[in-house]
Amino acid sequence: MSKQYETVIGLEVHVELATKTKIFCGCSTAFGAAPNTQTCPVCTGMPGSLPVLNRQVLEYAIAVGLATNCDITRYSKFDRKNYFYPDNPQNYQISQLYLPICQNGGVEIETEQGGRKIVGIHEIHMEEDAGKLIHDEWEDCSLVDYNRSGVPLIEIVSEPDMRSAEEVIAYMEKLRQVIQYLGASDCKLQEGSMRADVNLSVREAGAETFGTRTEMKNLNSFKAITRAIAGETARQIDLIEAGERVVQETRRWDDAKGESYAMRSKEDAQDYRYFPDPDLTPIRVSEEMLQEIRERQPEFRTEKMARYREEFDIPDYDIDIITGEKPLADLFEAAVALGAQPKKVSNWIMGETLRLMKEREVDAADLRFSPEHLAKLIALTETKQINSSVAKEVFEVMFEENTDPEQYVEEKGLKTVNDEGALKKAAEEVIAANPRSVEDYRNGKEKAIGFLVGQTMKAMKGKADPGAVNRLLREFLQK
């Protein structure tokens, strides 16, 4: 590659809002119901049915707009986006084109170089989700489930301000964090409650004008986004280097194959013939409504971080990680409120919790164990009723099933044995059985004690306090 290129990226992020009902009807949005059992004439596009806006959707959209420094559009309305596809029973999607509810915002992200930059938000609009299509391989047909049809979404459209995959991920994490703090969505990429379409173009470094962009869909993890950006950047540069042109089109990323392919044929011209929806009334956002929403805004991350520094004696690094995800911050605060020492709670979150989350690919929003049980586990170790390796073992069980640690320790008989006699007996036996290690220790090999402690713990079936065992062995060996 002779020339230097710059990648220019803008994102369209769809977020499913955490309302109880759909955007325009009183059907439940609960996940996992049997197909088509959460539908009605409105969300299945029956002629004559009339949509009515869910107030909570409007309030969430405004709250997200305020939290991302947007102007709130005081007079807003809905438009119809027309297209034919079986996931869309009305043959149009109700969305907002002309007067989206939020405009001209932006969020600050950290760049790879450790600097900061603002990623502009062009607009945020409200819209409805489509149904789900299931492809029936046996009968060569498709099946339609409209449970998701009409589930409320906000679409956050950024400016083309990002220049790398790292910036894209930093921007998305920022959005996710703000939205989770608001409780407006759980923002799970894998489950599709947060989805991103990547608009990408390349241009020669220093060029003023943008290149032709493509839009990539079907990106459901940060890893897939990173790979797709690398793949599409390379594809566009190859085209330009070969003297060919980039075609403006929608492409679908196939993460398994690591390549994208053009999605729509000419037969599906992207001409949505938007027009105002006459079934829905315009929205006028009053000063009072805005003020009420402003007053209800929660404590956001920056404020929380400042408060943690004031209130709790834990490292800045821990504060950064814990406040990075709302569910972790909630867990931390609840356990501390139950009387657990902040540093201990922080250690359990930073250590075992994050380790198991990573190992078992569990989102913070899906953590099963309660703050009560974490506080109990901490109390058990603090009072030396169990030792640290038993605590880890109990935690693993708790992590999976939210088991009550007190009950579990009791039932499994995991409490540290404080029976001095039994411990002494075990230690003596270990010393007698391992003359070599005893010899080593006496000759100044400090490490040998570790082996003896391990053997004694094993003899005690792990139910001893390793500190006490260590002390006892040293005592015996000095004789």
């Binding site: 309302t19 109880k20 009902t21 009807c25 009183g26 059907c27 439940s28 049997a34 197909p35 088509n36 059992t37 959460q38 539908t39 009605c40 596009g45 002629p47 009515v52 806006l53 869910n54 107030r55 909570q56 959707v57 409007l58 309305k77 119809r80 027309n82 034919f84 596809y85 079986p86 009305q90 043959n91 149009y92 299509l133 299931i134 492809h135 029936d136 009968e139 047909c141 498709s142 099946l143 339609v144 489930d145 409209y146 679908r252 999605m263 729509r264 037969e267 011209a269 001409d271 013939r273 027009f275 105002p276 929806d277 006459p278 079934d279 829905l280 009334t281 315009p282 929205i283 006028r284």
Partner: protein, 129 residues
Amino acid sequence: MKIKIFNRGICVCALLDTNPVMRKKCAEMEKNMANMINDETIEYVGILAKLELSAEEKEQAKSDMGRMLDYIDKLGELDTTDVEPVSHVFPVENVFREDVVINGDERERLLSNAPQEKDGMFVVPRTFE
């Protein structure tokens, strides 16, 4: 013959009557038509609306659409400088519902209109991207 281009809420129904008086009127209007729809446009609109039109129907649709646009152009004769655009004819704003589940499971009724169903879902011709 009738050509209907459907959009829920908007139904543009171009009706070519067999009535000779109407026909004559149409012919007169066509002569003075300001908006001429070309073949390319009618082809494109056909694709968007998923309509397959015969050559004869295309010609018909071209003249119908031209006349519709002429009619819409009439609005341009009015001075609307100080008129705010409206999307709703009634002076109603902020009609909301509370976020409360009121609908139950009506799957059976919903599917009773389906030409074909399987496992509680609508069966449609295979779609793929």
